[in-house]
Subunit: 371 residues, 2 copies
């Protein structure tokens, strides 16, 4: 258990904001950290060695997608996702719970069995039990695993949320047993509870009893307003243990991240930078830029003249506008890489400001810029 | 005129095959040379700095596409295509003739005016005269320009071909006048004549009278059999001047290139390596590989374990098969880059073999491998 005790180090706090370090066999992660999403074994549109150049220290893989394709046989054969995709730093995998809610055509939740659903690819019936989810994540060979949870859609119906907590708690226990304190791996519980503070607290308390290496917040950024999400975060983070990492799943815009860091969140993942990269929406230190806009047709300036990543500072907005208008792959490649790089620069600045004790000023400057 | 005399240097011949050097202000090109196609100001799916890493010394830009998008105003504003796309080595532009034949919805050829056609994008009526084509290519600021020609579809009708030669010769003269011996730029004539040796000879003779910096062969690789193309090449190259580069337009597979080099061709361009890259068809030293094939699902070997380009030798066929099956952009990125790199390795080997006087053995080994 000794290595697990050194998993997370809280270095400094600046009000609620936390500067920390997560240590895994595959590498160290400075927190607050952003994890690019590698849904199907690739961060969409970016070479793995370029991901490294953005100072990304951990990526996220999607258990649901990887289970369907390439499937467990191939992943087993190659020794896991790190080898398969040539990414040799830490990987966190979700449990598949979120995709069952968002993607599969038909699903039934059976507390005793698991999630019973049809593949969104071929309609094949699949049962994902808590045990199976952990087994798959072990085959993927991820460094940080998530428990299987029931992730309800946004609702005001307290009964629905309470029921999801009941099921998720049961599944969390079973995941813990199946995980069996695997060597050099870490397991996170997922706090549910929708927008209800009391249910969030209840869910957290039950997970604390089971005891995990870290705690995630699920069921947020599912359609609620940013203020509502921040309110939940303010409430729940005060009850979360200080000595373990806190992960806000599926979030978000730079603005979302700022507000969450302010409440004491340490980890984030989101498809926004890469998805936006494929639709010519760039995040920059001056705000969001829609490169499809005709006003960039003759703009010779780059997205960021100070970037030192590859030669991204040599490509003009005019050229990016042209590549976008002509549906060239290179547009997605350049803007996706730029966006991931910007997100990592943004996280590095956040960490610097917490270290200096000036996070609050940074927060005020940028909170309104990326809405 | 002095610099123009040093434009091409014939270093060595091995039977008909030629080893040479083309010298332009923007750089030297070792021949036989392959030019990746950058249709719309990007070699599809490949970062410009990676194109450089494949030892590509010249790329091709398409006048027709660049004229429509981004258009002349933007290209003028930025000082040409080199600056626009960040490629600072030589660029050759075609004249737009081929795309008028293959892409535009409606066209009329008027010898005295030029090609009158509708844009394939918005149907707008456009007149491309020989003078206009040269003016556009000057705005693109390419290093090697092509005359506007009428490029007829494959036909056995000798009259159609003879008429195209008549028009093309007239246009070639007007292009030469408009070109006005531009400083540090070079103009190529285009030999037409379909599959008729006598018409090819007639076209070449007329172009020799006008006098150009190099001579291209147009109207080949438009649907005829490889043997038919080789027969035309064998005939016409014997009549082409030794002291000027010979360019076979739009060709081809590695096998096509081998046969053409054997006849004494120096330059090639083709979309095959990048287009195949987007459909998971890889060219390797062992032949063509269709990565969609299920037999690669568990194949841990890379496309080429000896490649030193980026870390292409770390990606298994199994991973590429997965990326292809899941429609991931990275599949196009990796296979396109691999293919351009392979083509350039193939050209380097061709040059080495000509230098050593062993091209004939190399030809025999590979001529049947990429059909």
């Amino acid at each position: 258990m000794n290595s697990k005790k050194n998993f997370f180090e809280l270095i400094k706090t600046d009000n609620q904001a936390r500067l920390g370090k997560i240590k895994t066999l595959k590498g160290t992660i400075d927190t607050p950290a952003f994890m690019p999403v590698g849904t199907q074994g690739t961060v969409k549109g970016i070479f793995v060695d370029d991901i490294l150049k953005t100072n990304t220290q951990i990526i996220l893989g999607n258990t649901y997608h990887l289970f369907l394709r390439p499937g467990l046989d191939i992943l087993k054969n190659v020794g896991g996702l790190h080898n398969f995709m040539n990414w040799h730093k830490p990987i966190l995998t979700d449990s598949g719970g979120f995709q069952i809610m968002s993607l599969s055509k038909f699903r039934k939740i059976d507390k005793n069995v698991g999630a019973i659903f049809s593949s969104h690819l071929d309609g094949k019936k699949i049962i994902l039990s808590p045990e199976k989810s952990i087994q798959i994540q072990k085959v993927i060979n991820s460094d940080i695993l998530m428990v299987l949870d029931e992730c309800p859609k946004l609702t005001n119906d307290k009964k629905v949320i309470a029921n999801a907590i009941d099921i998720s708690t049961n599944w969390a226990k079973r995941c813990k047993v199946e995980f069996n304190n695997a060597k050099n791996k870490f397991l996170f519980g997922i706090v549910q509870g929708g927008l209800f503070n009391d249910l969030r607290n209840e869910s957290l308390e039950k997970l604390l009893e089971i005891n995990f290496d870290g705690f995630a917040l699920g069921g947020l950024a599912v359609g609620e307003k940013q203020d509502e999400m921040f309110k939940v975060l303010n409430g729940i983070t005060k009850k979360m243990p200080n000595d373990k990492p806190r992960y806000l799943m599926g979030v978000g815009t730079p603005s979302d991240i700022l507000g969450a860091v302010k409440s004491g969140i340490d980890m984030f993942d989101c498809v926004i930078p890469t998805r936006s990269g494929r639709t010519a929406l760039a995040f920059t230190w001056g705000g969001k830029i829609n490169l499809r806009n005709a006003k960039y047709k003759n703009d010779k300036s780059p997205l960021d003249e100070n970037t030192k990543l590859r030669d991204l500072n040599k490509y003009s907005k005019s050229y990016l506008n042209h590549l976008t208008n002509t549906n060239e792959i290179l547009a997605s490649m350049l803007v996706s890489l730029h966006n991931i790089n910007f997100y990592q620069e943004f996280m590095r600045e956040i960490r610097t400001k917490i270290k200096e004790g000036t996070f609050s000023a940074f927060y005020k400057k940028y909170i309104g810029m990326y809405k």
